[in-house]
Amino acid sequence: MKVEIDRDRCEGHGMCEEAAPDIFRLDHEGVAQVLIPDVPTEMEAKAAAAARACPVAAIRTTA
């Protein structure tokens, strides 16, 4: 699974980091960054849950 952040859309609420701190982290500007863009199979459920926790729908996942 691939994970991307729309940096223009991201408002830095940090819900993704809270749901999956291994995969997402807010940078020094308060914008989320993806630590593991190619998510291994065993972490996919967590990445998907984090993407759905984004209140501004700024995270896209593709198979």
Binding site: R9, E11, G12, H13, G14, M15, E17, E18, A19, L26, E29, G30, A45, K46, A48, A49, A51, R52, A53, C54, P55, V56, A57, I59, R60, T61
Partner: protein
């Protein structure tokens, strides 16, 4: 538990589906959503989508994977608890081994029976309809000065519309306490909003079509009225299992359980505090996510699931103010400025009661959620050293 049915295709339902898979459930998951739209985020509905700046589709959440049987446009009529099945409006019975109730709430209306010109804002279709109405340049009255009502008023001003706001209480008082309430009211007035306190309440004027709002001492003319006076949990379909049909939320334990094999999450539910405490309904984004995780885990693992961690993060954007807050609403204690100033519209603030912080907020200031949470919960000096 082979087949789990989730009723409700918004944030809580979708999060519950994700959580079931993350917890290792490998049986089937059926997700019934009554809207025709794929699951989406609600926060933009009173902001970017409402002003027309953002496309309605831009709020879509990542859809569930192939391993989840998502059925849109499927509203439910009733639950047959003894048969363990749900009847849909289309007449089909959907059987379950485990059930997650995430049917949310609907907006409360003032005009019984639907006056033309009264708008509610709860779902995407509501937002699209209101956006189209606002595009015609009406004079607007917003009834209700909570987060939603004030965000709508802000969007109206962005569109250059004349707008009045009426509420029993000053704006956001019940949510943010007196200091920030006054601050937000001042900023809104400066932006051109007329704010009216109506201690005895307000009612709609007009026979078939809304013509304005009436309070004890005055009347305000309006082309349209936006009613933002709270919501009603959708529990009727649960029959006698719905604790207070038509009025109150489902009362669930600290793991979201309320009947054998049935859990609930999101705006429909009031979770009990641990150790037999109060039932609290917290209809906010972070709560829905937390409760969905808890309820999914409790359905699979019962008492071994962790009790819910109360959602403690809230935000609003209005009149150029971006407020983010950690703690329980309304904040308890005295508000202090930690950094910046309200006058400059950029600040970190904190509430202190009996020498301990109870809540913290940022206004137009970037701070990570963990840092904000530290401000809201740990003693003053150490939090400042770590976070400023």
């Amino acid at each position: 538990m082979r087949r789990i049915v989730i009723v409700g295709g918004s944030l809580a339902g979708l999060s519950a589906a994700s959580a079931l898979r993350a917890e290792g459930h490998d049986g089937s998951i059926v997700l019934l959503g009554d809207e025709r739209h794929a699951p989406y985020a609600r926060p933009p509905l009173s902001k970017g989508v409402l002003t027309g700046k953002e496309e309605p589709t831009s709020a879509q959440l990542p859809p569930p994977g192939d391993d989840i049987d998502l059925r849109l446009g499927t509203s439910v009529v009733t639950l047959d608890f003894s048969r363990e099945a749900i009847l849909t409006r289309g007449g089909a019975w959907v059987p379950y081994d485990g059930l997650i109730v995430a049917t949310g709430a609907r907006a409360r209306s003032l005009g019984q029976g639907g006056l033309q010109g009264e708008y509610l804002l709860r779902d995407l279709d509501d937002s699209i309809a209101l956006q189209q109405a606002l595009a015609r340049g009406p004079k607007v009255v917003v009834v209700g000065a909570g987060f939603l009502g004030m965000e709508v008023a802000s969007s109206c001003r962005m569109l250059g519309l004349e707008v009045d706001v009426v509420d029993i209480d000053p704006p956001l008082l019940r949510l943010l306490g007196p200091d920030l309430s006054e601050f937000f009211a001042d900023v809104a007035r400066e932006d051109g909003v007329r704010i009216h306190a109506v201690p005895d309440g307000a009612s709609l004027l007009g026979d078939d079509k809304v013509t304005g709002v009436a309070a004890a001492e005055f009347r305000i003319d309006a082309d349209i009225v936006v009613t933002a006076v709270g919501d009603v949990p959708n529990t009727e379909w649960l029959g006698r299992l719905g604790s207070h049909p038509g009025f109150g939320p489902l009362l669930v334990d600290s793991r979201g359980r309320f009947a054998p094999g049935i859990v609930a999450a999101g705006d429909v539910a009031a979770f009990r505090e641990e150790n037999g405490g109060e039932f609290r309904r917290t209809p906010h984004w972070s709560s829905a996510v937390q409760q969905a995780r808890t309820a999914a885990a409790a359905l699979l693992r019962g008492d071994q699931a962790d009790p819910v961690r109360p959602g403690d993060y809230f935000w609003t954007e209005q009149f150029g103010l971006d407020l983010r807050m950690c703690g329980q609403l309304p904040p308890r204690g005295e508000m202090q400025i930690v950094d910046g100033s309200l006058q400059k519209r950029e600040a970190i603030v904190r509430w202190i009661q009996d020498g301990s912080p109870t809540a913290a907020a940022t206004i137009n200031r970037k701070l990570s959620l963990p840092a904000l949470r530290r401000f809201s919960s740990v003693p003053i000096d150490s939090a400042e050293r770590q976070a400023v």
